[in-house]
Subunit: 224 residues, 2 copies
């Protein structure tokens, strides 16, 4: 990780919702940090120091289980907030890790300054609240899927979500990460991807995946 220049005011959450009186303070308190591919931005269990806004790059947010296993909770895109799970009422420890999937630039703010911003700026707090509400809904939808859908359905859901995130039918992801995102194992993902390829719903060349038939893919998500 190394430091870099400053952030244009309209990319991140914090800046977009800054009230005029506060813009100067925001400029003073934020800094740009640069992370290389595969570098850890923060680690589950370590104390929360600050909040990150993703300025450029891709980041996975994941929870560990034992040494080997993980669950990817979310992929963050440009403009997204990172580290906000630390704002709860419990211990100030990260409950997830964040790892750069490509070279990534973030806009970083000390926790204390961010909390001060929230107090001073109700519309920021409101916006953040809304963001949480959305994340919570999504998390609960995923929980239901994990319980009631089979792996193939979850994989279809994961692929469609990735496509939505990238705003394209084509994107890149390792099978390992796909497995951790769909909540299953490498081999199972491998076999199910093969099936989707055989059905001509997708193509895959290494990590590059293209969705060919979104509609049929979506059928796997229905269930009862």
């Amino acid at each position: 990780m190394k430091k870099a220049g400053t952030c244009d005011l309209n990319t991140c959450f914090l800046c977009q919702y800054s009230i005029p009186e506060w813009i100067a303070a925001v400029s003073d308190h934020r800094q740009h940090l640069f992370y290389k591919k595969n570098e850890t931005i923060f680690q589950e269990g370590s104390p929360v120091k600050g909040i990150f806004f993703l300025y450029d790059g891709k980041v996975k947010v994941h929870k560990q289980w034992g040494a080997e296993k993980e669950l990817i909770v979310r992929f963050a895109q440009k403009g997204d907030i990172l580290g906000h799970r630390g704002l709860g009422s419990g211990d100030r420890l990260y409950t997830v890790s964040a790892t750069a999937l490509e070279d990534t630039t973030v806009c970083y703010t000390e926790l204390s300054f961010f909390e001060a911003s929230l107090k001073v700026n109700p519309s920021l707090a409101l916006k953040l609240m809304q963001f949480y509400a959305d994340e919570l809904q999504e998390a609960e939808r995923k929980m239901r899927n994990l319980v009631h859908m089979d792996v193939k359905g979850r994989l279809a859901d994961a692929l469609l979500e990735l496509s939505r995130l990238h705003k394209a039918l084509h994107f890149t992801i390792s099978r390992q990460d796909l497995a951790a995102f769909a909540g299953t194992t490498y081999e199972t993902i491998y076999r199910n991807l093969q099936e989707f390829i055989a059905e001509k719903l997708i193509t895959a060349e290494g990590r590059a995946i293209t969705i060919l038939n979104e509609k049929k893919l979506r059928r796997y998500i229905v269930g009862g």
Copy 2:
């Protein structure tokens, strides 16, 4: 559901965090509603009209899957907020249902008034944000458990959480609900409960469950 009297100012979230100028308005805009056991408070998929605060009773918050299957997302206790998932940025539809587990009184507020309160009262918004952050953490922890823990571990976790919610080692819950909470089926829960009983970690008389050995129960939650 029928209407009832008014709410003492200190039970719910909304009232506790009311700023002085707003208390009169809060009094005008809230009302008490009474729900009988098993009555639906709101239904997944229907439009969000307002926010509820649980004044007395127990409520399950659940997501449906097909006709038969459900997942219980959370049990609400006195003072808890209900319906807050509707505050996200998407459609204003409930993404979960809420059903009274016993006779229940709630303090109800129109959505528009609640949103106005949030704008006027930053500490309410902040408090709610923190609440969401906690819920999100918990939801993500549960997701990880669903993926990586076996049923016995999830049941142990569910039992301990219920005990924590009731602030007692003794509580009452149907096996059906226990299954929906742990993300599994009736029969599987039944068999695993038998095992816990055989190991003298709990007792169960019908729906009444008592935890005998919290420490050993907790061991089932560890995993890797």
